[in-house]
């Protein structure tokens, strides 16, 4: 087992960090990018594309860089460190990843180049109101209509759903009386597609997406059950989000330690108060354990076994969710009042960590999945998953 980056990976990480610093050196960068449409910096998106970042998860055959989960993780962590709002995990790893994993050769050839060169921002319309994060689609249904398919129902929230040029949609397909999960592609200008855009509490955008007999194209073979591919690609996106969270936690801790070092109260720096510095130490422990788990999950993804990948992502979510909450809450508390203000950076980190937590589905839901299978093995061996 080896956690070291090779030279190429280190170079990638440093290049991404430098690029992001050009816009996101302070929290003002995030504020400016999220204040105007589409909710991220299109110039930055283009430069990430030029650097090849948006093609990292895709094979060279598909027009990508032929890199893998490790490179995706590096990028996600850097984005998290500076709270860059560019939707890498959601648009590239998740929505693009679904096209790559489930699409036919022709679909991949048609759709992926735009994802890779940044001209097409894809979104995965999957969450349904009131449903848990891992639930199969229920309220959006796909039915055959002559040669084609149409979708009906509501997806919400769909991250950057109104900004996306390409929608990948999960839908319930009735196959001889049993429900299957189907994946469909819907064009941004499709008939019967309604998208209502709104801001999310973490400063990004989401949408309510309504389908009313909206024409849609099956992604890959029509009628194939896509629940496994959704689970696997979701695992990839979850691990990327875990790395984004690790990056955000690292900066939240940095901001907190810096504050404890410099801020004076009762005539002395806050770091004089052991009750505070010990809590910072506990934050560090949470961070490092979450980082270890996210890195390991990345390696399991890279190893290729889909079942192992899903379990590893679940463990990473359990660890990240707990750490993100711990660090996010303590970062504000140790700052005191200033941590509550939108002017200061640290609260944005807490806010984003909370959003990631909700998007990942939360700790309890994932713990429940692990609990259901805990009787099936003796010990967890990280070297032999």
């Amino acid at each position: 087992m080896d956690f070291e980056l090779d030279d190429e990976q280190t170079a990638l990480r440093d290049a991404v960090r430098r690029l992001l610093a050009s816009t996101y050196a302070t929290i003002d960068g995030r504020r400016a990018s999220t204040a105007k449409a589409p909710g991220w910096d299109e110039g930055m998106w283009g430069r990430l594309a030029e650097m090849g970042v948006l093609g990292l998860p895709f094979t060279e055959e598909d027009g990508g860089m032929g890199a893998g989960p490790v490179e995706v993780a590096l990028v996600a962590e850097q984005l998290g460190r500076v709270l860059a709002p560019e939707p890498f995990a959601e648009a590239v790893v998740l929505a693009g990843g679904l096209v790559a994993a489930a699409g036919s050769a022709a679909q991949k050839e048609q759709l992926l180049p735009g994802v890779v060169d940044g001209t097409t921002v894809a979104a995965f319309a999957h969450f349904e109101p009131g449903a848990a994060a891992g639930a199969p689609p229920r309220s959006v249904t796909a039915t055959q209509d002559g040669d084609g398919w149409v979708l009906d129902g509501v997806k919400e929230p769909v991250l950057h759903g109104a900004q996306a040029g390409l929608l990948v949609v999960s839908a319930r397909v009735d196959a001889d009386g049993t429900d299957r999960t189907g994946l469909f592609v819907v064009a941004a200008d499709a008939a019967g597609l309604d998208r209502v855009d709104y801001p999310t509490y973490d400063g990004t955008r989401a949408a309510r997406v309504t389908f009313a007999s909206t024409p849609a194209t099956p992604l890959g073979a029509a009628g194939a059950n896509a629940s496994d591919v959704v689970a696997l690609v979701t695992a990839h996106a979850q691990v990327a989000l875990c790395h984004e969270a690790v990056g955000a936690m690292a900066t939240a801790l940095d901001l907190t330690t810096e504050y404890l070092r410099t801020r004076k109260q009762f005539g002395v720096p806050l770091k004089t108060f052991q009750a505070l510095t010990f809590r910072a130490a506990d934050m560090y422990v949470s961070l490092e354990l979450a980082r270890s788990m996210a890195l390991w999950a990345t390696l399991v993804l890279a190893d290729g076994d889909p079942d192992a990948a899903v379990v590893a992502a679940t463990r990473a979510v359990v660890q990240t969710s707990a750490a993100g909450r711990h660090i996010g809450q303590e970062a504000i508390q140790l700052h005191g009042g200033i941590g509550m203000t939108a002017e200061y950076a640290v609260g944005h980190y807490t806010t984003r960590l909370t959003a990631i937590d909700q998007l990942l589905g939360g700790r309890t839901a994932h713990l429940r999945v692990l609990a259901d299978h805990v009787g099936e093995y003796d010990v967890v061996d990280p070297l032999a998953v």
């Binding site: 919400e156 005539g267 009750a275 508390q333 909700q358 998007l359 939360g362």
Partner: protein, 384 residues
Amino acid sequence: MRLRLSEADAAFREEMRAFFTTQVPERIRSVVAERRELSKDDIVETQRILNAAGLAVPAWPTEWGGRGWTSLQRHIWHEEMQLANVPAPLAFNTSMVGPVIATFGSQEQKERFLPATANIDIWWSQGFSEPDAGSDLASLRTAAVRDGDHYVVNGQKTWTTLGQYGDWIFTLVRTDPDAPKKQMGISFLLIDMTSPGLTVRPIKLIDGGQEVNEVFFEDVRVPVGNLVGEENKGWTYAKFLLGNERVGVAPVGSTKSVLARAKQLAKDRLDDPFVAARFAELETELLALELTALRVVANSADGKPHPASSVLKLRGTQLQQAVTELLVDLAGPGGVASGADDDSAVPQWARVATPRYLNYRKASIYGGSNEVQRQIIAGTILGL
């Protein structure tokens, strides 16, 4: 020791419950129930209804509208009000500046301010905290220099909650910069917020709301008649103010109310043992807190601040935050739809859940942080 309320207290409880659930408009109470933001008008309208019925300032001296209730009655009043989702009387008016004026103010000040304060004809803001002071309140620097019949005030206050609605602001200002101890040169000054040189700047919080403000003073002239009590004795009045109100220091009723509503919303998920256990746990913890509050109430007849108030504040905000966190979990991914309008397919409660959670991170910071409460417990109660 006795479990049941006395007949009189039980009747009192029924009276309160009946009043709050019938006399305060459902329209306003539903704002609280749904955790939406109260408007200024909601708060003023409610307080005037309460005041008309003698229920706005029961703890004040009877000649100014107080009711001479027992601590238990005040507790019942407060809990029933919260359980009925009635917006509480504005604390700045009724728990903070009102009692200070009633206790230390001149007769003229009492007459001028107390009725208006009880009826919220004056909306008071608080001007204590300063940007560089943090928990070390006494290190404040806003200066008031005597100039004839006026003080000239210069400086800055911050974390002024709802300062955007404020008519007047009660402040701590430094009147003697050369006092041997920082607590000694401070005065308690009432300032008209329409005074020239006074500006209010909103501070946006992480939930997107703008409930707190900075207040700047640039050569603001304040008549000396607005000084409460003696010059340089302000710290005494401030300590009185901060230690004054024990009833309601732990937000038990409102937290119970939010938890009960959450249980209703999660009704069809209570067969999930993890969800059910979380409710059982929080309900039990809240019960323990409520009982502790009742014990403190019972022991507070002598009028002095009970050091166990710190237990109530500390644990009360922890549980308040834990309940807001439960709602974030119940909302799930739908919770990110916080900016959606009412046409959203995500229910209203799920959309407000996370902004409320983020907003309530303040609960363990403002009004004496949990660290300050631990310090008080360790020092005052445990002798450490």
